[in-house]
C-alpha cells in the first residue's frame, strides 16, 4: 500500500486531480459474462455506445470497434439494445 500523506500535505479540500492517479480498471468488478460481437452483423447504429453506462464501447471516429474490458461491468445492456443481435454475452 502506498504511503499515506500527512494532513499538511493534502490538497485543499481534498480535491483530487487526475494527474498521477493510477488507472483504475473497474472492469475487474465484472463477474460472469462479457460482451462478444459479430462485427459482420453490426450496422454501426451506435445504440450500444449510447446506452453503455460505463462508456466501455470503443469507437474509431464514428465507427464501432469493440469494448474496453478495463471498464465493462458485464451488465449486458449493449446486447439487449442491439437491433441486429450482433452482441452476445459470453462466459468469461
Amino acid at each position: 500500500m502506498a504511503e499515506l500523506s500527512a494532513w499538511e500535505s493534502l490538497p485543499v479540500a481534498g480535491v483530487v486531480r487526475p494527474i498521477g492517479a493510477p488507472r483504475t480498471n473497474t472492469g475487474g468488478w465484472r463477474t460472469g459474462e462479457k460482451p462478444a460481437v459479430d462485427v459482420s452483423l453490426c450496422v454501426n447504429c451506435l445504440l450500444c455506445w449510447l446506452y453503455c453506462p460505463d462508456s466501455a464501447v470503443t469507437l474509431s471516429g464514428e465507427t464501432f470497434t469493440g469494448f474496453d474490458l478495463d471498464y465493462c461491468k458485464g451488465c449486458g445492456i449493449c446486447a439487449d439494445v442491439c437491433p441486429v443481435a450482433a452482441i452476445e454475452m459470453v462466459p468469461e
Binding site: L4, E8, A13, G14, R17, P18
Partner: protein, 384 residues
C-alpha cells in the same frame, strides 16, 4: 464625504451586498432575515447590483446552490435565520469541508420549539462545530462593516471557508440607526476580484471535489479544515486593519470596552454588548471598575487574546444567549477553557432566550454577582 444613511441592520447588510456585488445569491426568505434579501432583491431589480438571485425552494437548496456557485468561480452570498439554518445545517458542514468561501448573513433567531421568531443565538450554536467562521455584530454599522470585510476573510487562500455575519434578529435586523457607508468604488477595490483555487467548471483541468474519504483520510481532511479556521483569526485581524485604514472603524476579533483597569467584567456576543456598555458607563460614574469584553469572532475563538484581556479581572460573568441543556452553554464553556488555571472567578448566565429583553438593571445585577444563572427567567431561583 461620508455617506450616512438611516438604515436597519438588514438594509445595511443589503447595501454592503450591493457594493460587494456578488455574482450569485441563492436565498430563501425567513424572518428576521427577510429584510436583507427583500432590500437586496429590490436593489438588483433596480439595476444597482448585477447579481443573479436564485429563488430556491428551501434553505437546503440555497446552501447547495451556493456551494456550486462558489466552487464554479462566482462570488456567492446568502442569508438565513433559525429554522432556515437548521434545514441548511447539513449542507453548511459540506460547504466548510469543500472550502467554499460563501458569505452568509445570519439574522439570529431562536430555534423552535416552541416556535418563536425573536432573537437568541441557538441557531448559531447549532452549527458551532461546522467549521465556518462566525462573526457577531453589535449594531447595524458593524453588520455593514463585517459584511464588507467577510468576502476578504472567506476568500483568503489561508482560509477558504464560509463566513457568517451574525446580527441579532429584530434588535439589529429591524432597528434603524445611522450607518456610515463607504463609497461603492472603495468597497469594490477592497474586496477585489473573485478567484477560486480549482474552479469546477474548468473542464481543461478536471477535478473531483468533495471526494469520499475513508478512515485513511477523513481525519487528515478534518484537521486541515480546522487549521484553516484557526488561520482565519490572523486573517481577520489583517483585514480589520486594512478596513480601518479605509473606514476609520476597527472591528476585530474582540473589543475591550473600559477593560484596562476593570476588576469586574462581562463577556458577551452581539447587540447585548451595547446594553452592557451603557451599564459600564453608569458604573464607572459610580467609581466601579467595570468593563466589557465583546467577542466578535465566536469561530474562530480567540482564546489566548481573551485570557490576556481578562488577566487583571477578579471576576468575569459570561452571558450566553443560547442554553446547552444538560451541559455548559457554549460561550461559558469557551471562557472556562480559556481561563483554565487563572485566578479569575468565572460565572455563567443564560439570558434572552426567544427574544426576552435584557435590561440595564439585569446587567447591574450580573456585575454585582447577585444575578441568578438564568437572568430574566420567571420562577424560583436556580441553586448557585
Amino acid at each position: 464625504m461620508k455617506d450616512v444613511k438611516l438604515l436597519t441592520g438588514g438594509e445595511a447588510v443589503a447595501h454592503a451586498m450591493r457594493q460587494v456585488d456578488p455574482d450569485v445569491v441563492p436565498v430563501y426568505p425567513i424572518t428576521p432575515q427577510t429584510p436583507i434579501i427583500q432590500t437586496f432583491a429590490k436593489l438588483v431589480a433596480d439595476g444597482k447590483a448585477s447579481t443573479e438571485i436564485v429563488n430556491v425552494e428551501s434553505e437546503h437548496s440555497a446552501m447547495s446552490a451556493a456551494i456550486g456557485a462558489a466552487l464554479a468561480g462566482g462570488r456567492t452570498m446568502t442569508a438565513t435565520s433559525s429554522q432556515g439554518l437548521a434545514l441548511m445545517a447539513e449542507v453548511v458542514y459540506i460547504a466548510a469541508s469543500m472550502r467554499a468561501p460563501i458569505v452568509m448573513a445570519l439574522g439570529n433567531r431562536a430555534l423552535s420549539g416552541p416556535i418563536n421568531i425573536h432573537c437568541d443565538h441557538s441557531d448559531s450554536m447549532l452549527i458551532r462545530d461546522s467549521g465556518v467562521v462566525q462573526l457577531f455584530a453589535e449594531n447595524a454599522q458593524e453588520a455593514y462593516d463585517l459584511t464588507v470585510m467577510a468576502p476578504r476573510i472567506a476568500e483568503d487562500p489561508r482560509v477558504l471557508l464560509p463566513v457568517l455575519v451574525c446580527l441579532d434578529g429584530f434588535t439589529i435586523t429591524h432597528s434603524a440607526e445611522p450607518v456610515s457607508l463607504l463609497p461603492d468604488d472603495e468597497v469594490s477595490r477592497f474586496v477585489g476580484p473573485y478567484s477560486t483555487p480549482s474552479a469546477v467548471l474548468d473542464t481543461e483541468h478536471p477535478t473531483t471535489q468533495g471526494p469520499f474519504a475513508m478512515p485513511d483520510y477523513y481525519f487528515e481532511l478534518r484537521r486541515q479544515q480546522a487549521a484553516a479556521l484557526e488561520a482565519a483569526l490572523d486573517v481577520l485581524e489583517e483585514v480589520a486593519a486594512e478596513f480601518e485604514l479605509l473606514s476609520g472603524r476597527r472591528v476585530g476579533a474582540l473589543e475591550a470596552y473600559r477593560l484596562g483597569d476593570a476588576t469586574h467584567a462581562i463577556v458577551a456576543l452581539g447587540s447585548t454588548a451595547g446594553t452592557v456598555k451603557d451599564v459600564v458607563d453608569e458604573l464607572r460614574e459610580e467609581h466601579e471598575a467595570a468593563g466589557l469584553l465583546k467577542v466578535v469572532s465566536f469561530r474562530p475563538f480567540p482564546s489566548a487574546a481573551i485570557a490576556a484581556a481578562l488577566e487583571g479581572c477578579a471576576s468575569v460573568a459570561v452571558l450566553d444567549r443560547a442554553d446547552s441543556p444538560g451541559g455548559t452553554p457554549a460561550l461559558h464553556a469557551e471562557l472556562a477553557a480559556a481561563l483554565y488555571g487563572s485566578d479569575v472567578e468565572l460565572a455563567g448566565h443564560v439570558y434572552g432566550l426567544g427574544g426576552r429583553e435584557l435590561h440595564p438593571p439585569d446587567v447591574r445585577e450580573i456585575f454585582s454577582g447577585a444575578a441568578a444563572p438564568y437572568v430574566g427567567l420567571r420562577g424560583e431561583r436556580c441553586p448557585a
